[in-house]
């Protein structure tokens, strides 16, 4: 059996599937958990970052002498203090601007001073001469040949002629003959959609504490989703060897994809190197909004053909995503996801990656997929209304399943979309009566999930307990899941395992905690490391009993002789074998280092009831149910937590969250006051139906759950609101002014 394959349909789990208290729990309810900004060091300085007030400008000069003259200021860095030959030039330029600033909030200098307030005050003494350039912040405008150009290099070989140099690449997926498909349809519907940029909105601002000597040896404490990856990025950008920098991942106060790259970390390291003192930088909230990654804003055109019975005959999606000032908008992912839920014979999905004068987008939960799903699922809903068809039945009729061809190419392995649709159909919400001005929306969503490079080490202790070292920062309770999987595999109690997210000097490389990969990949690695340890324990038992290793089996947390031929021996418990390991051959650790590739895709179906006030356009989500395939829920409470969190973020994105830029290209709402994420009184309870269709690529059947949960909400809410208001909403957010205007336009 391959190393990452599903064991058994009929396995009975002991630990897995229970809901114990998380191991880091007490620290987090007593205030002693250490997050990014909570660490300090003797002699520490505070760093602050000077940011551009312009959307697009050439930097003619920077004069830091007045700031440096302040006694509290110990050092200033600009682009010249970084590695000119860095491989990751775009990442460097985003952290510290070179010739041009490309967006409001773009960093161009940093100061280290004896206090945070002194550092901030010193920023105002730095004199910068700008040549302000024309700017563009809208994706459709940025694609026009006449648009201001950010980078003269232009796009890659995939970009068709006649588009602006701001179009960095084009991609296309699909199969069949869409024109033939549209010809076969009884109804063809076309509609255009727009979505605003939404920020990940983690409550913890980026923060780090850096200490770096002139010899290139250093330490970095930081809140990040991937300390190994940012170690490599920082080393590249400041020009040191990666292993000379030891990075410790602090507790992380939310990431959702936004803490998968660097912003302030190379600046803190450069300031520390320059001052020979530890330097702490903590972004304020305004900096987080202006200078870290929101997701793309988008513009999309959808065309779908359908027969009267609901059979979809063809689908076309054109997706235009702006990704801020650098290439890399997740439009390829979006285009691949557009029609992933449906088995279409004729399908085409196109994507354009566009740059404009906004902060570089960062990954946000299932990057690209929620927007794509919003557009496609909205058109399907309109067609269901037009043809008077049940929206669940239409989706069931066309649903992707094992063996059908995905719109992006492959044939599906075992997947659980239909099961999530059935769960939604059978949920009481689906048949509950609706009140006046209420509407019900349904939508499906898909995400790939990811494996990635993974190393874990599982060390046994003489008292029969286990120290499990992982390298994937815990962003949502994953240490509890790791403990459960180790306990399951070894047959010992959950409490006997301690999982630690260790620093970059303590394990081999680990990919970032992204792509819904942690419970899948670090989980798989934990199981494999536990099996490695068990094999070693069986070897010790064999030695003790004087029988061959293959005559020993591991059952119920004990080594036992394998059948009568192995002889009569009292089973040896895990604790007994651990107690004697020094004498039976030495310390025992289990290891796993590999790149598991069996991350199972995940589907979800969401049900939303919404009520619209026809006089004000105000919307309230009154009921919400998430049905999602988790493969196997290791800790069901944290699986539900991912479902609920994704739904809540989707509600914010659908109804209120947006980056608002002024005519001057400056961000108008860089704070939680006007970037309106849902508050407790905005939301109903969020019901969860955990569907379990095992992933063949994981020993216990796990599928990542963190990202798929944000894919259906935009569409499901848009469908609910559109039905409640009686007018189709095609632009996000569906803010009250937009809804009221749509209602009036319809009446007028």
């Amino acid at each position: 059996m391959a190393f990452d394959e599903y064991d058994s349909e009929n396995r009975i789990f002991n630990a897995v599937g229970t809901r114990p208290v998380r191991p880091d729990g007490i620290d987090k309810v007593t205030g002693r958990a250490m997050f990014g900004a909570d660490m300090s060091a003797p002699g520490m300085l505070w760093g602050a970052v000077l940011r551009s007030p312009h959307a697009h400008a050439r930097i003619k000069s920077i004069n830091t002498s007045k700031a440096e003259a302040l006694s509290q200021v110990k050092g200033v860095v600009t682009r010249a203090d970084f590695n000119a030959d860095a491989d990751e030039q775009d990442v460097l330029d985003n952290c510290m601007a070179g010739e041009k600033v490309l967006y409001d909030g773009h960093a161009l200098a940093a100061v280290a001073a004896t206090s945070r307030r002194a550092a901030e005050k010193a920023l105002r003494l730095i004199e910068v001469e700008y040549e302000v350039l024309p700017h563009v912040t809208d994706v459709d405008e940025a694609m026009q040949p006449s648009a201001p150009v950010l980078r003269d290099v232009g796009g890659d070989e995939s970009v068709p002629d006649g588009l602006s140099k701001n179009v960095m690449s084009m991609c296309e997926f699909g199969h069949g003959d869409i024109e033939k498909g549209f010809a076969e349809a009884d109804l063809v519907m076309e509609k255009s959609f727009k979505t605003a940029a939404a920020h990940q909105g983690y409550i913890e601002p980026h923060a780090c504490l850096a200490s770096l000597g002139a010899d290139g040896r250093g330490e970095l404490w930081v809140c990040t989703q991937g300390h190994f990856y940012i170690r490599n990025l920082c080393a590249d950008i400041i020009g040191i060897d990666s292993t000379q920098l030891r990075v410790v991942a602090s507790e992380i106060g939310g990431g959702f994809g936004g803490k998968t790259t660097v912003f302030i970390e190379p600046l803190a390291l450069a300031l520390s190197r320059k001052t020979n003192r530890p330097v702490k930088i903590m972004m304020n909230r305004s900096e987080v909004f202006r200078a870290t990654g929101p997701t793309s804003s988008t513009s999309m055109d959808i065309k779908i053909g359908m027969k009267k019975d609901g059979t979809m005959t063809a689908g076309l999606a054109v997706n235009r995503f702006q990704g801020g000032a650098y290439p890399g908008a997740p439009v390829d992912m979006g285009a691949m996801c557009s029609f992933a839920c449906y088995a279409l014979e004729n399908v085409s999905s196109v994507g354009y990656d566009v740059i404009c004068n906004r902060p570089k987008q960062a990954a946000y939960r299932a990057p690209g997929s929620p927007m794509a799903a919003f557009a496609v699922e909205s058109v399907i809903d309109m067609m269901c209304q037009e043809l008077d068809l049940d929206p669940v039945e239409v989706r069931l009729k066309n649903a992707s399943k094992e063996g059908t061809k995905a719109s992006y190419g492959p044939r599906w392995p075992r997947i659980g979309l239909i099961e999530t649709l059935e769960a939604a159909k059978n949920h009481p919400q689906y048949s509950a009566p609706l009140g006046p001005n209420q509407g019900r929306g349904i939508a499906c969503g898909f995400w790939f999930n990811h494996g990635g490079e993974t190393s874990v080490s599982l060390a046994l202790s003489q008292d029969g307990t286990v120290a499990l070292s992982v390298g994937t920062p815990d962003i949502g309770g994953s240490r509890a899941s790791m403990c459960l999987m180790a306990a399951e595999e070894l047959g010992i109690p959950y409490e006997k395992v301690r999982t630690t997210v260790v620093d970059t000097a303590s394990l081999g490389y680990n990919d970032v905690s992204h792509g819904s990969r942690v419970t899948y990949a670090s989980g798989l690695a934990t199981i494999k490391a536990a099996r490695d340890a068990k094999q070693k324990l069986c070897g010790r038992a064999a030695k003790i009993w004087g029988i061959p290793e293959d005559a020993v089996v591991w059952e119920d947390g004990m080594a036992k002789p394998a059948g009568h031929n192995a002889g009569q021996h009292e089973p040896l418990s895990f604790a007994e074998l651990c107690g004697d390991m020094g004498q039976t051959g030495g310390p025992i650790s289990g290891h796993f280092e590999a790149t598991p590739e069996g991350a199972g895709v995940s589907f979800a179906t969401h049900l939303v009831d919404a009520e619209v006030d026809p006089e004000t356009g105000a919307t309230r989500v009154t009921r919400y149910t998430v049905c999602q395939d988790a493969g196997k829920a290791i800790h069901p409470s944290y699986v539900e937590g991912q479902f609920q969190g994704g739904a809540a973020q989707g509600i914010g994105w659908a109804l209120n969250e947006e980056y608002v830029y002024g005519e001057d290209g400056r961000l108008q709402n860089a704070g939680f006051l006007d970037y309106r994420i849902p508050v407790a009184s905005d939301l109903p309870m969020i019901d969860c139906e955990i569907v379990e269709v095992p992933n063949p690529g994981h020993p216990y059947g796990v599928r990542g759950v963190g990202e798929t949960s944000i894919v259906p909400p935009l569409a499901a809410i848009a469908n609910a609101v559109s039905r409640a208001a009686g007018v189709r909403m095609t632009e996000l957010p569906m803010s009250p002014p937009r809804i009221l205007k749509a209602l009036k336009d319809q009446d007028g």
């Binding site: 004000t616 108008q668 009184s681 803010s735 009250p736 002014p737 009221l740 205007k741």
Partner: protein, 286 residues
């Protein structure tokens, strides 16, 4: 920056008057601290008035209530008398920001911050509230609607501070209400606010005051709107007339919080809805 916390109004006024640079009065601090932190204001002197004797008092006076400048929304909410007399004002005070903000933010601070969208200002205007101003040239009293003169600007002179606001007495069968529109259910700045205070003679509105917030540079006192209500029973015709007058009085801006069109439409809707609540409160149904 200097921080002072005098124990008398006189000392506070002297400190404010004698400081040649920029000053800020610190009561609840929920606006002042944000200005300090963001660098929007860099005062040379901050005078914390919360150590002044009596500044937290809510005193009965001439059948009404005098509310000290440090009285927070939460304290108002806990005061049965004020809550019974002016529920609209108390509700507005408890709409400003979060629970944590209600614990600190004050009526007088909301007024002095002079935001066009301040939640407590329209219901205080509707109530006919009067502020008492202390200054180097003595004390004076002005109606609430004369405090703000534009966004962030007040009619207070150098060295002056508001020490209290007086919520007057009112006849039996009176009621007030404040409604605001925000995109979320809490935590937002009002996109539109509407306050109505009225008194009944039988079932007929004998007296009324209407005020709108966030639709003009300062909160509006809508005298024509009040006239439309007086003599009516808050019937549909009167309410439609009020709504039309409210929308017509709007002089709003387009911004990140709302459009001119939206504010104008919703001002009418909220004026109607606030009237219905005030009316039912006056009848004793609330």
């Amino acid at each position: 920056m200097r921080y002072e916390s005098p124990s008398t109004i006189t000392d506070a006024v002297t400190l404010l008057a004698d400081e040649p640079g920029m000053t800020r009065v610190l009561a609840g601090g929920t606006d002042v601290l944000v200005q300090l932190r963001s660098g929007m204001a860099e005062p040379d002197l901050v005078v914390d008035i919360k150590r002044i004797n009596g500044i937290y008092d809510i005193a009965e006076e001439a059948g009404g209530y005098r509310v000290g400048a440090a009285v927070s929304g939460a304290m108002l909410d806990e005061h049965a008398g004020v809550k019974a007399a002016w529920p609209g004002i108390v509700e507005a005070a408890c709409l400003v920001g979060s629970t944590q903000v209600h614990a600190r933010a004050t009526l007088c601070g909301n007024l002095c911050n002079a935001s066009p969208a301040a939640d407590t200002v329209p219901p205080m205007i509707a109530a006919g509230a009067i502020v008492r101003i202390h200054g180097p040239n003595g004390d004076r009293e002005i109606p609430v609607e004369q405090v703000a003169t534009g966004p962030g600007k007040t009619s207070l002179g150098k060295g002056e501070m508001i020490g209290s606001v007086f919520l007057p007495s009112r006849p039996e069968r009176s009621g007030d209400a404040y409604l605001r529109f925000i995109p979320r259910t809490e935590m937002d700045i009002a996109v539109v606010g509407a306050a109505v205070s009225l008194s009944l003679d039988g079932d007929t509105i004998a007296d009324a005051r209407v005020s709108l917030g966030a639709v003009a540079p300062t909160a509006l006192l809508l005298e024509e709107g009040a006239a439309a209500l007086i003599g009516s029973t808050a019937d549909d015709a009167a309410l439609e007339k009020l709504a039309a007058l409210a929308s017509a009085a709007c002089n709003p801006i387009n911004d990140k919080r709302g459009t001119i069109e939206f504010r104008t439409d919703v001002a009418g809707v909220l004026a109607k809805r606030a009237t219905k609540i005030a009316f039912s409160r006056a009848k004793g149904a609330a």
